[in-house]
Amino acid sequence: MNKKGDMTIVSQRNIAKNIFELTLKGDLVRNMNEPGQFVHVRVNNSYLPLLRRPISISSINKEKNECTLIYRAEGMGTELLSKKMVGETLDVLGPLGNGFKIKDMALKKTALLVGGGIGVPPLYQLSKELKAKGINVIHVLGFQDRETVFYESEFAELGTTYIATADGSYGEKGFVTDVIRKYNLDFDHLFSCGPTMMLKALQEEHGHKDVYLSLEERMGCGIGACFACVCRVSENSTDYKKVCSDGPVFKGGEVLL
């Protein structure tokens, strides 16, 4: 039951501006059973960077023993990661956290999946699994601009897909919330991952529905030991949840955003 292992890079592709799709093969995939979980990746066997990097699992291929991550190369760690080549191994800890628990849910007809930028990836595996269960999936995916859009056709294969860009250079101009309003999208479940601002807006507008939100926070250990990634449960108590081990997916209202 080792949670850490070397995984082999079987493909690494630049799929949009600074966005990379990385496919890894290894035994850890056997434990990957829930969309929305993440892996904690050590990009370098030295101390630079020192800490691991949390990256969501974007899709899982049990047959091939492979999983795919999609990440934006921006800081030291992800830049280094983007330089890794097929055949190299990566020290991976995972799967970690609690994802979208659709296995335990009484699912109704329609699910709305809302992703913002680098929050889009975990929704892909989720959408595949929902679809497989016969749920009608609608995607609203927000990006900065035309150049950073990715996986449009992959999502479109699974269900109606709206793309929004902040600068209007592609798809709808504006935020994901604008799109939901404009098309008056109707749904039974809302699953979302993206910037906290976006999650907040969704929670405010749709908090009365069945909402699940995936959060981000700077992490140390990724397993619940260091208390780096806590969020409050209410204003007036010391109660908390850890994003890494209680989340990253929480039910709407479960934690303060």
């Binding site: 020192l50 397993i223 030991a225 806590v230």
Partner: protein, 313 residues
């Protein structure tokens, strides 16, 4: 014969390796990864009389070969710690060192008194050096008189030996060590984190919500080694050394410097299996350098060399 076993006040150690306080929670997460009974001891997370939420996030930031943290002593409070956390750890054959924190002298005394009664708490670690709590422990950690007074008070109530955790953010670490030794400390643990800061290039603001944080990891090892070296030559009580340990060679370096046992902090985040791995590798490394027991290494950097003739070259 066991090359690694050693005895310190209150502690009968299978080996000299233990996770450092705050870097291992109360062990629960790591228990899912390996058998905690393998560890020499566990330094559990700082405990205060009442539950604390700690600081706002972000609470960590990365630095070259190190990290900053400003957790702010988040913990469920004395009662919960004893009844839930410490109790739960009883299932393992491993002594606990309880990290005691607070904002006032009374806080420390209350926690020390109660937590030292727990059957598996074999020693206390007075955290007078946490840099991340405003109006908190930090003032004790930089003033020898206050530190000594606190040590005395805690010694009066503690049912187990008391180790004092020294802050590196002082002009004269030896003075601090001597003060708490004189006040009755049974041992020292050192070092806590160096006070540091990182700014976000985009906003110009500190990355940590708390602004400053404690620097830990490999980058601080040279400072830790120097301090253990200086202090171990001047005190009679044993030292549990820490600061940037990531492998068995680092452990050896701390023993040479004068530590009697070694704690591993930040490295647990990089590799959650690091403690058992070090424990596994240590005998090999000791043999490689010609030692048959860890005690032969302790203080080798400054001790008279009689016993070491076989290694001089």
């Amino acid at each position: 014969m066991n090359m690694l076993s050693t005895k310190l006040p209150g502690l009968d150690l299978k080996n000299p390796i233990m996770p450092a306080s705050g870097c291992f929670g109360f062990g629960e997460e790591y228990a899912g990864l390996y058998d905690l009974s393998q560890l020499g001891a566990i330094m559990i997370k700082a405990t205060t009389p009442q539950a604390r939420f700690g600081n706002p996030t972000p609470r960590v930031a990365e630095t070259p070969a190190g990290m900053l943290n400003a957790i702010g002593l988040q913990n469920p409070g004395l009662e919960q710690v004893i009844e839930k956390k410490v109790k739960w750890l009883e299932q393992y054959d491993v002594p606990l060192i309880a990290n005691v924190a607070g904002a006032t002298e009374e806080d420390y005394v209350i926690v020390a008194k109660e937590i030292s009664k727990a059957q598996n708490v074999h020693a206390l670690e007075l955290n007078i050096s946490c840099p991340n709590v405003k109006a908190g422990g930090i003032t004790f950690g930089v003033d020898p008189t206050l530190a000594a007074e606190l040590t005395r008070k805690v010694k009066e109530v503690s049912e187990v030996p008391v180790y004092v955790k020294l802050s590196p953010n002082v002009t004269n670490i030896v003075e601090m060590a001597l003060a708490v030794e004189k006040a009755g400390a049974d041992g020292l643990t050192m070092i806590n984190t160096l006070l540091g800061m990182r700014l976000d290039l985009k906003t110009g603001q500190p990355i940590l919500a708390n602004k400053t944080g404690g620097l830990s990891g490999p980058s601080i090892k040279p400072v830790a080694i120097r301090m253990v070296y200086e202090v171990s030559q001047r005190v009679e009580i044993p030292i549990i050394g820490m600061g940037g340990v990531t492998n068995a060679s680092d452990v050896l370096e701390f023993l040479y410097a004068g530590a009697s046992a070694v704690a591993v902090g930040t490295a647990n985040f990089v590799d959650p299996y690091v403690c058992p791995q070090i424990i596994e590798e240590l005998p090999e490394v000791l043999s490689e350098y010609g030692f048959s027991h860890i005690e032969e290494c302790i203080g080798r950097s400054w001790k008279k060399r009689e016993g070491f003739a076989h290694l001089s070259s």
